[in-house]
Symmetry: C2
Subunit: 416 residues, 2 copies
């Protein structure tokens, strides 16, 4: 008898589906393809020599600890230097015991799902929202209330209206998930006013806010807006971030700042999930911050990404048709394009691949499947020439797609 | 209003409890303490110079990939050299696509729980069984059927009897979890006959066997017994192992070999759990195997641990009272002590700590809370002198504990 797996899988496992988007992204590996689809940091932003120095320090000072099991909470030294930085740069009132280290920020999302979400529980996200977050919450069978994202981030009016509606229907959401700075995928940033108001609303309904802040340090111009966590005096905000964009993704290091009761649950959940985050990588991050390497490196990365954004914006101005709109992000790695309603970016994808350029279709970021006329473009990964050429190719695909519609309309008009 | 967390936590999170054992283990950090409690590999077994060489190779050849995100399945190169090794040394018929890399073997246990266990589902384990596994399965609210472990490993007669009983009661377990070689905590090994029979029983009831094999390479004498997976032709066995005991725990690297349908679910679950295992560490493991460093290193580690086991056995013979029994493991890192029924190792723990020696109380390894008269001793971590002195101190504590019982009995006898 062969194993009958359908009988053995859990319901949540039965519901897991392969990401269609990841299937599409496989096409971006074809030769000659320019991919504006991925979400990868630029290899030029990896501080290779600095990492080599940090590793030398590990071999000199910490090698036996770096090779052994570590505590589930994470390396105390790393949590200390992180806490100092979070206090100083982000005005988040915290000490090392308010921080735990995770296996990348994705694990923080997983711990959140594990700790808060029962099947059918409602959570509030933006529409669009980060794909990795919806996957993590989906894995624990959440129901999504996806609310509009405006140029000022998550639409606060809609949040209020819908919380009221949910309350009337005796539905009590578990948390509000938001990426307030340079959101993935839209690139937009929530204003300070909206951050303050969101915290007030969360307080009124006694809700948790999950503030996912992977891009907060990648500010290109103007002052950074204070994180919601810096305004929080009640332990209402769970703050999470990552080393993937300020050091390198390859060590899989993220962190969470939250109240003691919440962290204690996360620690127990993480203990059963993977015992601890890799200590060798944690020592690298520790030496990286302690050695004062982070700020100079961030300066370089900000300049590099700002230039790349400008190159993309310039190409968009030059090549894209007039009736297409895009966001102008003041930081981060992505911008967001909105087409006239008749354009479906999923349909258009094949045409773009034919022109050897790839993007992410926008509806992937809408838990409710809307957003058919949007797309995400990444400007951090490709070099300047590729960015310009990629946008030029994409514009060709767009114009052809629009022309095919015009032609269809002409034919329709003639048939009437 | 302060956040009312009890209303927000999931049921599974509400059930999570701090491990009492971990609290006890904190005592082992006191100055002067000899800990036979932990489960750490010996730092002398870390191939520090080899790791340095592997890292040099990474900087020479793979640094940009090692610092970037990797695929969820794991580094293809690492999976290839692992598959070749598993075929050659373990006679497991596999190729690289039959293997995925996990964030330590603990993540493999977590993926197993996520993918198979609904609240209340029954799983079968040994009694005693590995604590990390029971934590991982407990996190997904499993019900444990814990069956006796004999000198030949999981008691196959009991497995048969209880599967029949469960079937009569219309209870269908999800899987049988076992550590067949040099089990943590008992140190015992399942015979080949029992492995064959276990696979037959699993086939009869169409069940999955989870074979957790972290210590299989640490054979001190005699031939290694083939893994159950090497006997499996139906994709019935999920095999998992780790680099923690053959390289170092600090990179958090484990792997799973399983059938395609099961791996596909694990990959999706892992994608939402942490995207990928740290590529930098994976490249180290890749260069470690590819460079031919593993086998010489294993020879050293086996010799080191065999000597340590012998030192501990000699001390046990010399110092422990006659009415105490222990296992004689032919590999691994642990041995198991059984006392007369009247001894409770949890009660005795304080006395041992007073003598500055620590162990793990045996009942921690029994999901049903039995095993009060047992303890786990680790021989891999401490040096020879500490091992001998630790056992001497422990023997003192045991003799005092026994004497206190004798005294009590004398008093009781006089009172009658």
């Amino acid at each position: 008898m062969v194993v009958n797996l359908d009988r053995l899988f859990s319901r949540r496992a039965m519901k897991l589906k392969g990401s269609e988007i990841r299937e599409l992204l496989k096409l971006t590996q074809l030769p000659g393809m320019i991919s504006l689809a991925g979400g990868l940091p630029c290899p030029d932003a990896f501080p290779i020599e600095v990492i080599r120095e940090c590793i030398e320090k590990i071999f000199d000072k910490h090698i036996l600890n770096a090779l052994q099991y570590g505590t589930t909470e994470g390396l105390p030294g790393l949590r200390k230097v992180l806490a100092a930085r979070m206090s100083e740069k982000k005005n988040i009132d915290c000490e090392f015991h308010d921080i735990i280290i995770t296996n990348g920020a994705q694990q923080a999302l997983n711990l959140l799902g594990f700790t808060f979400i029962e099947p059918g529980d409602v959570i509030i996200t933006g529409a669009p929202t980060y794909l990795g977050a919806s996957q993590a919450f989906h894995a624990f069978e959440a129901n999504f209330e996806s609310l509009p994202v405006t140029d000022d981030g998550l639409d606060i009016k809609s949040v209020k209206r819908n919380l009221k509606r949910l309350q009337r229907n005796k539905i009590f959401p578990k948390f509000i998930y938001t990426v307030p700075s340079f959101q993935n995928p839209s690139g937009v940033t929530m204003s300070l006013e909206n951050r303050i108001e969101l915290l007030e609303v969360a307080s009124e309904y006694d809700l948790i806010i999950v503030e996912d802040d992977p891009y907060g340090e990648l500010v290109f111009e103007g002052d950074a807006i204070p994180p919601i966590k810096s305004l929080d005096r009640k332990g209402r905000v769970i703050y999470m971030s990552t080393f993937s964009k300020i050091l390198a993704p390859g060590f899989r290091l993220g962190w969470i700042i939250a109240s003691e009761d919440i962290l204690n649950k996360f620690i127990l959940a993480k203990q059963s999930a993977d015992l601890c985050t890799n200590p060798f990588g944690q020592y690298i991050a520790y030496e990286y911050i302690k050695g004062g390497y982070l700020d100079p490196q961030l300066d370089k990365t900000r300049k590099l990404y700002r230039r790349k954004r400008d190159v993309m914006l310039e190409a968009l101005e030059k090549y894209f048709p007039d009736n297409v709109k895009w966001t102008i992000p003041r930081g981060g790695m992505f911008l967001w394009v909105t087409f006239p309603k008749r354009i479906n970016t999923r349909t258009m994808f094949k045409r773009a691949i034919g022109k050897k350029v790839a993007y992410v279709v926008g509806d992937a970021f809408f838990p409710d499947g809307s957003g058919h006329n949007t797309m995400r473009l990444n400007f951090s990964y490709s070099d300047d020439e590729m960015l310009t050429e990629g946008i030029r190719r994409l514009a060709e695909a767009i114009k052809e797609e629009m022309a095919s519609f015009d032609l269809e309309e002409t034919i329709m008009a003639e048939l009437i």
